[in-house]
């Protein structure tokens, strides 16, 4: 090889290398659409559904869950590297990741965790719902936090992880200790956290912009810039996605399921269905006659055709649920305990026997059906009304705005309502829904055996014993029928081909850091 060719080839190689690095250095921006403006960027003092996404990426959490919880994987550590629970179930000790740093460079310590949780408890902020069982928090050394519980609670860590999705983010003590609460001071709308992205700016009415935290303790994210842009019209967002200017549409912008087959044929689009650990079901008000009769509720269960409902409401894309649980719960599901199957003749017979024969106009009795303001619930209830009418129950659909529906539900002003029962991240959720006086027991359901069992299961560390109890609880529920499970809830998201690692995709499970995390996203060519 002559000197000239050597020089030329070297130069060529250098040029290619230069081009390659230039291409690699092209910053990757991910624009995530949001339906509106966050209230603030301080996630711990208010329930702020539009703030969840930006703040979950700026702040870290002690423990986290993401959509991986639908595979039954439960909580994983975020700032916590590991944790242990004492024999009596009353002491939880967390070891923190030593590499974690605030965005201003200071290390994250146990004192930050204590300061945050103490403030939440003192101010009774929303995360109190899980922290109310905490008696005392101690910090034996910088990397250890010990939570003393008032009562043993097996589900404490999974519940803390779930609540951390929305609130209970860890705040830097050295920057907040001068403030009276998490709603005052300069950091309310200019957060400094320890998460994978740093806050850069908030254009009111427009967007919140974050940039990659190169020093993030799990390694720098692959997306360089994360922008939460307000796109207030669902149709405009869809148009922007179709034309390739948005890379991701989350479930709030999900297209009608009838359009899914066409999208599935498009090679430029990935359609992702993500089951959740919630169901779509109906709650029945047990204080209202004749719904207080078990026989009548059984007839209602027999009147429901889930397959037909699936076709009409969801174009057949959802999964009917016939147990008092959802698929994510694995061996916690009692597969022998089933809700009464579709059988119109039997429904009619039961209603006749219950002393409710068809009267004038063929109607047996009147009932009102309502739903929270979710499109899926609305679609289901429209079908339910027709199915009930077929067995002579004069059902009518009543709809309210979200706040009014919540109030009426809490005041027990309903007959039958669509609901979103939760089964994870810990099965202790049964207490909230089915125990006498439980926070989501709108049905006024009470069964002493179930109460005793659920109370006991919450303190049991032995997995097999716990499972047996929850199996028995499901038997009781499908017999008493305070609610009827209909479907496993499912989220639909659309992703541009080439992008991957979004929180609803299985490859991101246990890596995304919360339901709103974008840490695991990989842009094309990375």
């Amino acid at each position: 090889m002559t000197t000239l060719t050597k020089t030329l080839s070297l130069a060529f190689a250098g040029l290619m290398l230069g081009l390659a690095t230039a291409a690699a250095q092209q910053p990757a921006t991910l624009v995530v659409p949001q339906l509106g403006e966050p209230k603030t960027l301080s996630p711990n003092f208010a329930s702020d559904s539009l703030g969840f996404a930006p703040t979950s990426n700026v702040y870290s959490h002690l423990v986290a869950i993401d959509w991986g919880v639908n595979k039954g994987t439960g909580a994983y550590g975020d700032l916590a590297e590991s944790w242990t629970t004492s024999e009596d179930g009353k002491t939880v000790t967390f070891k923190l990741n030593k590499a974690a740093k605030w965005h201003d460079g200071k290390p994250v310590t146990g004192h930050d965790v204590k300061f945050t949780f103490d403030t939440i408890i003192r101010k009774k902020y929303p995360a109190l719902v899980v922290l109310k069982n905490v008696k005392e928090i101690t910090v034996p050394d910088d990397n250890t936090v010990v939570l003393q519980l008032i009562d043993p609670e097996v589900g404490f860590v999974p519940m803390l992880a779930q609540v951390s999705t929305w609130t209970a983010k860890i705040y830097p003590k050295h920057l907040w200790e001068g403030q009276d609460g998490f709603d005052t001071g300069p950091l309310v709308n200019a957060p400094i956290g320890s998460g994978p992205f740093k806050f850069t700016r908030w254009e009111k009415g427009g967007l919140v912009e974050l940039e990659a935290n190169k020093d993030y303790f799990r390694g720098a994210p692959k997306v360089d810039r994360l922008v939460f842009r307000q796109v207030t019209d669902v149709n405009v967002a869809r148009a922007e996605f179709d034309s390739g200017r948005l890379q991701f549409l989350n479930y709030e912008y999900a297209p009608p399921l009838a359009e899914i087959p066409a999208l599935q044929r498009d090679p430029k689009v990935k359609v992702v269905f993500t089951p959740t650990h919630f169901s779509r079901d109906i709650q029945i008000n047990l204080k209202k006659a004749p719904l207080d009769k078990q026989q009548v509720r059984q007839a209602i269960a027999h009147a429901i055709d889930r397959e037909a409902m699936n076709k009409l409401a969801f174009s057949g894309f959802w999964k009917p649920a016939i147990h008092a649980s959802v698929e994510s719960q694995g061996d916690l599901i009692n597969r022998d305990a089933k809700f009464p199957a579709f059988d119109k003749a039997k429904a009619e017979k039961l209603l006749d026997e219950a002393g409710l024969p068809r009267g004038a106009g063929g109607w047996r009795f009147d009932v009102s059906v309502t739903n929270p303001n979710f499109p899926d619930c609305k679609a289901m209830m429209e079908v339910l009304v027709q199915q009930l009418r077929q067995v002579g129950i004069n059902a009518k659909l009543e709809q309210f705005d979200q706040a009014t529906w919540f109030r009426r539900q809490a005041e027990k002003q309903f007959d039958i309502s669509c609901y979103f029962t939760r089964y994870g991240p810990d099965p202790d959720a049964f207490r909230e829904h089915f125990m006498t006086g439980g926070g989501r027991n709108n049905m006024s359901y009470t069964n002493p055996e179930l109460d005793a069992l659920a109370q006991k299961a919450a303190t049991l560390n032995n997995k097999d014993e716990r499972r047996k109890i929850y199996h028995r609880i499901q038997e009781i529920i499908v017999t008493d029928l305070p609610y009827i499970n209909l479907f496993n809830e499912q989220k639909t998201t659309l992703i541009r081909a080439g992008w991957s690692g979004f929180n609803t995709e299985p490859e991101a499970f246990d890596k995304a850091v919360t339901w709103f995390g974008y840490y695991s996203v990989v842009p094309p060519g990375r």
Partner: protein, 320 residues
């Protein structure tokens, strides 16, 4: 004249007072309060109580009203319940975007609409007149959000020549000429949607006004003198025909701050209309009240301006 202006400005005080009391009452009567919005539906009752106390919502209605009046009297509009930022700053940060959008569209639709209306009024009943009039009615009755979506479909999705949302590109320049061009590009579709709809209204208005004036005897006189038709139309007829146009313009000018919630929503425009809409949904009383005060002041000034323009256009009107 100065006395007249002073008087009009002073009239603002009772008007604003009535607006405050009425709206305070309305917000108070609406079910739910900000504590539920802030605390979420699974909230601890103790936390709800703390929020109510912190925001003074636990006080009797009259005391809340009195406190608010005293506060506004001292020039302080308070702090937003949601964002914890001063109401005045929140509102002012949204005013430029809304003024730019609604103001531009208003100017274009008034000027263009009036001229087109006057032009077709020359020959009432002609084919041109009836077709343009029909078109004007069609435009006027088009729902603005639908038109907006159609424009997005055509220009942003099919042709891909214009941006569909926001006021600026995510990666666009932050200042200088580049910023101006970027914003101008983002303005085209929302302004087009808004203008198309109000344009029709001004065409109809100016057409009927000019047609009426054209049949008056003084026009016949100028025609007989032999002035060219264009001079008659622009100089003698239009000036008198402008009065109803000015009235409607005055009304719309008063609503300039709120008149575009739908357009702002379709195009994700960061304007005041959306701020007010969100505040109402969240029962953010300080923002709602602050916005209503700003609106009542605008309406009052717009009507003052209308009266001044009236006096300038019509020498028979005297301001005393």
């Amino acid at each position: 004249m100065r006395r007249y202006l002073l008087l009009r400005v002073f009239q603002l005080v009772p008007v604003t007072l009535v607006v405050i009391v009425l709206n305070f009452l309305l917000v108070h009567l609406a079910p739910g309060d900000v504590s539920i919005v802030l605390a979420g539906d699974n909230a601890d009752p103790a936390y709800l109580a703390i929020i109510r106390e912190r925001y003074g919502l636990d006080r009797p209605f009259l005391e809340q009203l009195w406190r608010y009046l005293v506060q506004v009297g001292s020039g302080d509009l308070g702090v937003s319940f949601r964002s914890r930022e001063p109401v005045f700053a929140e509102i002012m940060s949204r005013v430029p975007a809304t003024l730019l959008l609604v103001g531009t569209s208003l100017v274009i639709s008034v000027v263009l609409g009036t001229l087109v209306g006057a032009w077709i009024a020359r020959r009432p009943g002609s084919a041109l007149d009836s077709s343009v009039s029909a078109l004007a009615v069609a435009l006027f009755s088009m729902p603005v959000f639908w038109l907006g979506l159609m424009l997005v479909l055509l220009f942003a999705v099919e042709l891909q020549v214009l941006p569909a949302m926001g006021m600026a590109s995510v990666d666009g320049p932050r200042d200088g000429v580049g910023r101006v061009l970027d914003v101008a590009q983002h303005m085209i579709l929302p302004v087009l949607a808004l203008t198309t709809v109000s344009f029709g209204q001004y065409v109809r208005l100016s057409r009927s006004a000019v047609a009426e004036v054209m049949s008056e005897s003084y026009i016949t006189t100028v025609r007989a003198i032999g002035f060219p038709e264009r001079t008659i139309l622009m100089h003698y007829a239009l000036r008198n025909a402008l009065l109803p146009v000015v009235t409607v313009l005055g009304l719309q000018l008063g609503l300039v701050l709120t008149g575009a919630v739908l357009t702002e929503t379709v195009f994700s425009w960061p304007g005041l209309g959306r701020l007010i809409y969100d505040a109402i949904l969240a029962r953010d009383t300080p923002i709602i009240m602050g916005a209503f005060i700003a609106m009542s002041v605008t309406v009052a000034f717009a009507s003052l301006l209308t009266d001044l323009v009236y006096a300038a256009l019509d020498p028979r009107v005297k301001l005393t």
